[in-house]
Amino acid sequence: MRFFSFHLMPYPSLPPDYDGPAWVTCPNEFFDPAVGHEVYNRYLDELVYAEELGFDGVCVNEHHQNAYGIMPSPNLMGSILARQTKRVKIAIVGNALPLYDPPTRVAEEFAMIDNISGGRLIAGFVVGGGPEYYSFSMNPAHARERFAEAHEIIMRAWTEPGPFEYIGKHYKLRYVNSWPRPFQQPHPEVWIPGAGSLETMEFVAKHRYAYMGIPYFHISVFDRTFRMFREACEREGYEYDPLQAGWLEPIYVAETDEQARQEYEEHFWYFVKRLLPGINISPPGYTSIRSIENILKGAGTFAINLQTWDEVVEGQYAIVGSPETVAEKLTESLRRLGTGNLLGLFQLGTLPAHLTRKNLELFATEVMPKLRKEFPEGARVLGDQAAVA
C-alpha cells in the first residue's frame, strides 16, 4: 500500500448568503487575495508536512474558475513541492490535456518537475472536468479526441528521439522535440483519474497505467468501478496490479469517534453544499452515450444529494472517527476494492489548519502503521473476489 496526501486547495470563505454554484459563474469578487495568500501557503505547508509524517506521496490537481479548488496550475504547485520536499512522490493528477495547446507544453513542464525532483513525478493526465469546457469555451465534443492526440504526442515526446513530426486532426506540430526529457526513463508513472466512464478505464487498462477513482459517490459505486477496471485489464489479457488503482477518500481522524464527528462535520458540509454545486456539469458531447448510461447508474448517490450524517457514514463518503475506527473501515474497504494506493483528502472544505495537522498526525502515527502491516507493498490487496460482486 502506498499512502498519498491529496490536497484540493479549496477556497474556504464563500459569503454565507451565496447559494449559487462554485463553478464557472461563481463571481470572482468573492476571491479575497488576503485569504488567497494565507491558504496557498498553508496548503503547501500541509503537503510538505505529509512528507515529514512518512507519507509516500502528495497529490495536487487542476481546476479552473471555481472555488472548489483554487489550483488552475498544479504544475506551479508541483514545482514548489519538488524543491520543498526531498523524498515523496509528487503526483499531479492531472493536467487537463485538451486545455494545453500545444500539448507539448505538458511534456515540457512535467519533465522539468521530474528533473528538479530527481524522478519523483507521477504524471496524471485528465480530459478536464465538464465545467472546464464552459470556462475555456472549448468544444466538449472534441474533448476525447483532443485528449487522445495530446496523450500520444506527450508519450512520444518522452520516449521517441526528436525532432519528429506529428500531424493529427487537432494538432499539427512540425517539430516535436521536447527539452528537457524526463528524469525517469522511459517515462514517469502515469495516473488517470476517472469518474466511472468505461472509455477511460479501457484506455488506462490498455496502456497499463493506473486508474484513480474520483470520490464523492457511495462506496458501492467504487466497488463497481474498480471491478469494471479489473475486468478491463483482463480483457487486455493481464491480471491487474493493485498499484494500478487508487482510491481517493476524505479521511478525518480524532481522539474518539464523537470528537471526530464534532470537529469535522461542519467543514464537510461546507464542502458538499457550497463547493460541489456545479462540479457535475456534463457538457454536450463530453461523454459518450454508453458512458453516460453507466455514470448515471451511480449519479443518484453523488454526494451533492446527501442530507444526513448517517448517509455520509453509511456510504463512506468520508471515513471519520477514532484511529481504531478509521483503520478498521479502511482495512475492510481497501481489501474489498483491491486498490494499492490510498489517496487521502485530509483537508476538506473549511477544515482549519490546526485540525488538518492533527488529522495528518493521528493518521500517520496510529492508522498508517496498521495499514502498512495489513497491506505490505507489492502484496496482493484484493480479498475474496466473490465478496466483491
Binding site: M138, N139, P140, N280, P283, P284, G285, L296, A299, G300
Partner: protein
Amino acid sequence: MAAVTEGRLSTQVGKVQVFRGGPADGPPVVYLHSAQGETPGLLFLETLADWAGVVAPVFPGFGESEGIDEIDDIEDAVFHLLDVFDSLGLESPAVVGLSLGGWLAAEIATRYPERVGRLVLVNPAGLYIEGHPIKEIFGRQLDELALELFADQSHPVAALMHQMASLSMSTLSGEVPFDLLRPIIQSQAATAKLGWDPYLHNPKLRKRLYRVTAPTLVVHGAVDGLIPRAHAEAYAQDIAGARLVDVDGAAHMLPLEKPDELSAIVREFVAG
C-alpha cells in the same frame, strides 16, 4: 393535412432520415430543423405538404441519422446538405430553416447561391450581434429553456419540458429515465459540434450575406426569448431585397407554435 413519410438516404457520412410528403408537382420545399431536432411527427411539415413537395432531412447526430463523427464544423455541414440536395435531385429548392437550420440555410445560400431558390429564415442563428447575445442553450434546465422557446407554456412540447424539469440536462443526477434523456443528449452533442465555439455563429457569415441571390424572407417570433430580434434585422438588412415579418404570439419554436400561419406565409412567399 397531407401525409409525410420517413425514408432513409445513404450519404457520404452515413444513412440519414429524410421525411417527405406532398404533391409530386408541388414546389420543392426543404425544411432544416433546429437544435431541438424537431422533424419526426412535425405538424408543420404536414401542413406544408398540402401544397409543397416537402423534404425534411434529419441532420447527422439527430434522431436516427448517422454520421456526426464525420462532421466537425459548418463547412462539413454544408457539404453534407449539398450531398442530400444532389441525391434527391433538388437543384434549387425553397429552403426553410429554423434557428440552427436557418443558420445552415444561410450558409448554403452564401456559398452556393444557385442552390437555393427561395430562402426562409425562421428565428435564425448564425450571427453575432454585439449587445444582443443568443441565450445559452447548453446545459440549461428544461423548464427554464421552455420559457424562452415557447410563447404558450401549455403547448404540449413546452408542457413536456416542464414535466422533465426535475431531470436535469446539465447535471447527471437523479433517477433519470434514460430513453427520455437520450435524444436530448444526442441533439445537444450534435449541436455542440457546430455551435459550441464560436457560440452558434460563424464570424464570417455576415459579411458574406451579400452573396445571397434568392428572394429571402426572415420570420421572427415576436416573443422569441432565445434569439433577439436584432439577429433577424441583421439578416433582413444585409441580404438584398429581404423582408422581415413578425409573427405575434410565437416565440422561438415558431413552426411548432404556429404551423398553419407559417405554412401560409411560406406558401404566399414561394408562390410570389
